[in-house]
Symmetry: C2
Subunit: 479 residues, 2 copies
Amino acid sequence: MASTAGLRWGLDAYTSRRFTVSAHAVDSPVLPNTAFRRWFDEHRRANQFTVHRIPFDELVGWRFEDGTGNLVHDSGKFFSVEGLDVHTDWGDRGAWMQPIINQPEIGILGIVVKEFDGILHCLMQAKMEPGNLDSVQLSPTVQATRSNYTGVHRGRSIRYLEYFLPPRRGDVVIDSLQSEQGAWFLHKRNRNMVVEVTEDIPLHDDFCWLTIGQIHQLLCQDNLVNMDSRTVLACIPFDAPNGGPREPARGPYRESLLRSFSAGAQQSLHSTGEILSWLTDAKSRHELIQRTVPLREVKHWYRTPDEIGHEMGKYFTVIAADVSASNREMTRWTQPLLAPVERGLVAFLARPIDGVLHLLMQAKTEAGVFDFTELAPTVQCMPGNTGDLPVHRRPRYLDVVLGADPAAIRYDVVQSEEGGRFYHADNRYQIVEVGEDFPLDVPDEYRWMTVRQVTELLQHSNYVNIQARSLLAGVHTTW
Amino acid sequence: MASTAGLRWGLDAYTSRRFTVSAHAVDSPVLPNTAFRRWFDEHRRANQFTVHRIPFDELVGWRFEDGTGNLVHDSGKFFSVEGLDVHTDWGDRGAWMQPIINQPEIGILGIVVKEFDGILHCLMQAKMEPGNLDSVQLSPTVQATRSNYTGVHRGRSIRYLEYFLPPRRGDVVIDSLQSEQGAWFLHKRNRNMVVEVTEDIPLHDDFCWLTIGQIHQLLCQDNLVNMDSRTVLACIPFDAPNGGPREPARGPYRESLLRSFSAGAQQSLHSTGEILSWLTDAKSRHELIQRTVPLREVKHWYRTPDEIGHEMGKYFTVIAADVSASNREMTRWTQPLLAPVERGLVAFLARPIDGVLHLLMQAKTEAGVFDFTELAPTVQCMPGNTGDLPVHRRPRYLDVVLGADPAAIRYDVVQSEEGGRFYHADNRYQIVEVGEDFPLDVPDEYRWMTVRQVTELLQHSNYVNIQARSLLAGVHTTW
């Protein structure tokens, strides 16, 4: 691979790239912050589009299948909404049925990176999605389902796709399958990629070059960097700067975070082997049975002409939408969308242990998870759903997050989930620092891990869930 | 973890144990080789048992389920024989249906290790399995299905199980889920463990302490070390000795093998990142659809009163057996067994690349694989099944293995597959060295990897298949 002076990607075993969080330009000679803001606002203005709810029977190309009642596309592609029957003995969850999105094909979420004036830039896209709260958000260079890029969608060809498919014109620095929302998707995964190129690349409309430092600033704004960008950015392994701090002292939180990026086995509360053994133990001794069932057999969910929902108004509804837009693959279409009933809360508790910041990770089992459990943030819930639960089933540590001293909140941003499938789905993402008096001893579903340990596991599939990855991208901004 | 002077386990990130292949005593002060041989022969003699085939309707507790025709146990536990409908666009395989064993629960394969006189010993068991060719083989300390140890089996309690279940009395050094035969099992995995203890352990009859050096010698004999032992042994990461060779020169093959145990990223033809990207690419761009179907709907397979088989006599049959034995959990029982129609051939081509031995790994998709594909040996086939295939579908490199110069064959042993499910199933396992004139350029389903790279992936699930692990245990003996 080509050398990139001044940039340091971590984790030698996987890539020769090294990347240092503090080396990032927070402005760019290619597209300075002020120019980006103008460019982005223009795209938001120019991409006027309307999304309005319609009854299911006005969907074009979609129907409720005879017999099963599953919501399917006539082509048999894209995705379907089916029923799932779940049984587990993990975490006091028991058994339940629910609608779930079944989309077995693997899409590509890919960012092209390239140096300009010795500074690494990411090729980002201003992309409209029908479910987005703020219309256009910043997406990866390529964000394509397999149906998109193999032609089922009959859309325009995908820009820059050639950098992600063989024969590939660039060096792969990140390439792994990562899961999406386990509560809403059955076994869904996308391919998360970063590819570095050296050749000249034509800059199409809707695309811009930004430094990682600039993107980190944008990650601190609500609903701007989309979920697909966040998951790819989360997979990038950062190192602490070589030879000690080159920055002015930034306080003990930031110093412990820098150490956490590079922490070796001796600096972690548990070795990675112990973490993997803990997950193996959970998978071996507990049960998760996932069985797809006809949607019309799902108990406690109703269907009206324009909505599928839970009889107590919980969780989410499935709706149908008519979408008109100017610059998407097709200019008008209809599709089902999943609409959560409220904003979620996603939070890490972060605690320095011997001067190295550790995140409190939770082994969480969700309906559609691929391999029993994944590492989730400390808290991941819909707070309104939890009010009527008995105390022992309320999300653990929710009270710590809700009662946190504002000075201890290191990150607090509302971010949207994927607008191609979800309607106005967002979460409040928080990182809450707790002190060295916070108990190290935690229940068996939780483990303290360094940023480096979580990042190492991201070289593999199905260890870290989408909410944890979104929030990990936020952690990178708090140094 | 406790320190163990003189022993070196590899892969710091996962465990503090380090283990050097050349440090192993090939004899033991606890049980010298001659005494072991006497002990083992006595157990083979003492464990007389009979296995004879019976018609399916003489099975006790098993029946063909109404409607589906699946072969199931009355308890709903153990395993069932069902149908599987498979479609894939990988490797010219197309679509087919077959019977498959469905055993969703995860068992434990665990070896207790302990130092005696500063030398690490493994607690091994002389264990009879009904399908074994030579009755008793050497098994791990614990080899138990979940039904075994949670009581469904109604058998005696499992010796030494307490070292593998919490609260655990020992240090975990290996703990990962590993797959079993993808052609015969649907998504089957077992928990592979090594636990080190320091306390005194009572030595029960049927158990013995052996050094890893002794076990490596036994791995060079036919049908002696069982499959469950081999998979656990394969997961142990070995280092080359520190400070250069401490052994007399053993020739270029052995020197290149020692380098392969410890090879860093610079000494591997591909980085581990490139290997993972190659697997991600295969999983993303190809399709494997696995759908369970009623056994009686499986096309091209017949059922008689005492056999389920393929109409052309290929692959395997499913039979029923009556088993009487003296020291198993129960003294007499009946069960179905899967009987392959011929002996398989499993081989690595091994080639030094710049002085570092590389194994030629194949990304192989089998009917019941958990996540699309796993790394398999260079050749893995039933040679008799391949005779009538068109030339372009015959197993690649089979001719190289069959035509190898005997001096280039570094390992050549017949090993049994799991005797609890398979009847007289064995493979000829071979390691064939090829010279530096052998092409580095290989088809896209193949990659050259160092021993260290394969071993690193064994810390995770579903990267390396059971045949490759069995043969990797053999590689460790050839230094």
